[in-house]
Symmetry: none
Subunit: 400 residues, 2 copies
């Protein structure tokens, strides 16, 4: 029996409450001073929580595999990211509250600049403001294609979302963004025969879009990435018998939460507002995913000091979360983003689970090195939810 089926069979409804705090890009690597961002930061509340929790390290996808945000979160929500594949287009669509339906094909679009020969001169069209984006999307909205509905939605800055709705759209499509300037956009190609029709339709749409954007400045062309259909993921209410809430500031993470069947809420402007919102929602849900973005952004920018500061901001929100008295409180990340790499990495990520049902151990710090010696050892990402469920007394015994 697979793990999701097993969870579906054993999960029971109880009044206990679970909070999962995900600090995006939590883990790091030693910087010039030989310590990681978590080790350099002053984190009295996280360290105290670690002392009272069971600690460990999480591997979200597999040893040596660097998770994208989609797979990283999906694993934490209990779904094997090697089984459930989410295209970035799907995330983008869900993140703008687009009502993406089963069978819809979604793509993440960039407005870009091309020269007279069609060669890309700026992949982000000078980072046009969102207002310009909104006008450009209006221009593209009445493009029609045979047999499918077409949706074009602005996201932020130069980014938009394209959705095709109709029967028989299959994914397995290549991207048009060559990932650098000085080249022409690539045509969409089908990686498998079933995707031929979708490839043809998307290429037709691109040609029509190029036509409408001719003469616009600086955004006179589009690039499409992450073309994918919405994956068929069983909801967390089906799998875990939960009534889950997702609280996040950024669209993509609300999108991920939606995909897992959570009711999503806009988290406001910072982690303190997210926690205040969680408090307001406390009686309505039994599971809360709270997303914290800042550590990842700083890590991606290679800003060690800012990442440490971001972690201190997260730390300052911990007491208010503990005041809610969750039965199980977890803190972890969706992947590591070491500042010295300026990118996601494959390193296992610190994890702690606050529970009364534990063997007190020697871990007194919430860091990569301290958590390695924690009771849990190294666990796959898909063990996080089962552990939360067990410690919240929401899992029945398996077999007699």
């Amino acid at each position: 029996m697979n793990k999701l089926d097993l969870m579906g069979e054993l999960s029971v409804k109880t009044p206990s409450k679970i909070v999962m705090v995900v600090s995006d890009g939590l883990g790091g690597l030693p910087g010039p001073d030989g310590v990681t961002e978590l080790e350099a930061a002053n984190l009295p509340n996280l360290d105290q929580l670690a002392s009272e929790s069971v600690c460990g390290l999480v591997q979200h996808v597999d040893t040596a595999i660097t998770p994208g945000s989609g797979p990283g979160h999906l694993a934490l929500f209990g779904y094997d990211p090697l089984e459930f594949d989410i295209g970035r287009g799907v995330l983008e669509a869900l993140g703008i509250d687009f009502d993406l339906r089963m069978g819809d094909l979604a793509a993440r679009g960039n407005f870009c600049s091309v020269d007279d020969d069609g060669v890309i001169t700026d992949r982000r069209a000078g980072r046009i403001p969102t207002e310009v984006n909104v006008e450009l999307c209006k221009l593209l909205r009445d493009i029609t294609l045979d047999g499918v509905e077409v949706f074009v939605e602005p996201v932020e800055g130069y980014r938009f979302c394209l959705v095709l709705r109709g029967s028989g759209l299959q994914d397995g499509l290549t991207e048009t963004d060559p990932q650098r300037e000085g080249m022409k956009p690539l045509p969409v190609q089908a990686r498998r025969p079933e995707a031929e029709r979708a490839a043809t339709l998307v290429n037709q749409w691109i040609a029509k879009a190029a036509d409408r954007l001719k003469g616009q400045k600086p955004a006179n062309m589009v690039l499409l990435r992450g073309l994918a259909t919405r994956p068929n993921i069983p909801s967390m209410s089906e799998v875990f018998n939960l009534n889950p809430a997702g609280v996040a500031i950024y669209p993509m993470y609300r999108g991920l939460a939606t995909l897992a069947g959570m009711k999503v809420y806009h988290g406001g402007h910072d982690i303190h507002e997210e926690v205040a919102l969680t408090k307001k929602l406390w009686d309505e849900h039994d599971f809360f995913f709270v997303h914290f973005k800042n550590a990842d952004s700083a890590g991606e920018d290679g800003d060690f000091g800012r990442k440490a500061k971001a972690l201190e901001l997260l730390d300052s929100a911990i007491p208010a979360i503990r005041d809610l008295k969750p039965d199980v409180l977890m803190v972890t990340g969706d992947h590591a983003t070491p500042s010295i790499l300026k990118a996601h990495s494959w390193h296992p990520v610190p994890f702690m689970l606050y529970t009364p049902w534990r063997y007190p151990d020697e871990v007194r710090q919430f860091t990569e090195r301290a958590c390695r010696d924690g009771e849990f050892g190294r666990i796959p990402g898909t063990d996080v939810m089962p552990l939360a469920m067990a410690h919240a007394m929401k899992l029945a015994k398996y077999g007699a």
Copy 2:
């Protein structure tokens, strides 16, 4: 290749002997004094054995999953409990030495009390003594059903076992016990179409049984749980090339041993009698499963002190087992039963394997926390038998 096939291919017959001592519900959690039952108990012999053994922690089913006794033991015997599913009815039948055959459908029965409206007033019929049970079973024994043989066997107290024998009986049946008083017994329902016939037959039997019990006091009705057919498990002699013996005092554990193809023996009245019997059988077998029940019972009762005492009783039996000079001696549990939870739990269980082929380490105590730092680390239950086989020099090299 799956693990069982691999074992079947590599296992060789040798004179070496393996003893597996399973202390039911071995693991615990810290009580009010901050120590676990194993930590509180005085266990000089187990601790000494741990010092000379390789230690670790066993996860029987999967991370966060609380094993029932069936899955817990099956894993220790080498069988993936998620692949081989055993219903409680099957265990019950095997545990009373009933000759359960492939295709038989077995259920665990309770005699219960119902009022004039058929509402349950006592799920255990005032815990009637076994002698009354025997008489009631006689009353039910000549109930006939179309096309199947029917067996009704007393177990202990208010519990009996119902077996239907005939072709085409499929499991996938719901239980009739609503698990609380104040409700009527539920009808048996088929969870899949193949089980319809079995559901109909069982419901017919229940109606006839109710009729015969009318007027009896206090047991005037039956409840059925764990309706299941005997699973098709390859025997340990096929898989491991062993001639295995199972020594247990309680029926269910003899039943589990039978299912794995062991020759089973009634262990007498206590662990010392079980060990004496093992000594008597020493020349006849090369593998001995010795079951110790007391720690689990005390844990289920929430009696921390009695569980610690039970562990000390087990400890006192270790020297006599060591005197037999087994080549491999293992001590572990089928699951944890922390006294503070009064129930089975999902926590990994201490495990030690006495072998000369080891790296001496720092583990000097047979406890949850000490074993975590043992050489084996955390292993799945299905690794226990392969490790025993390897250390007993009963596994050939894989490949040239």
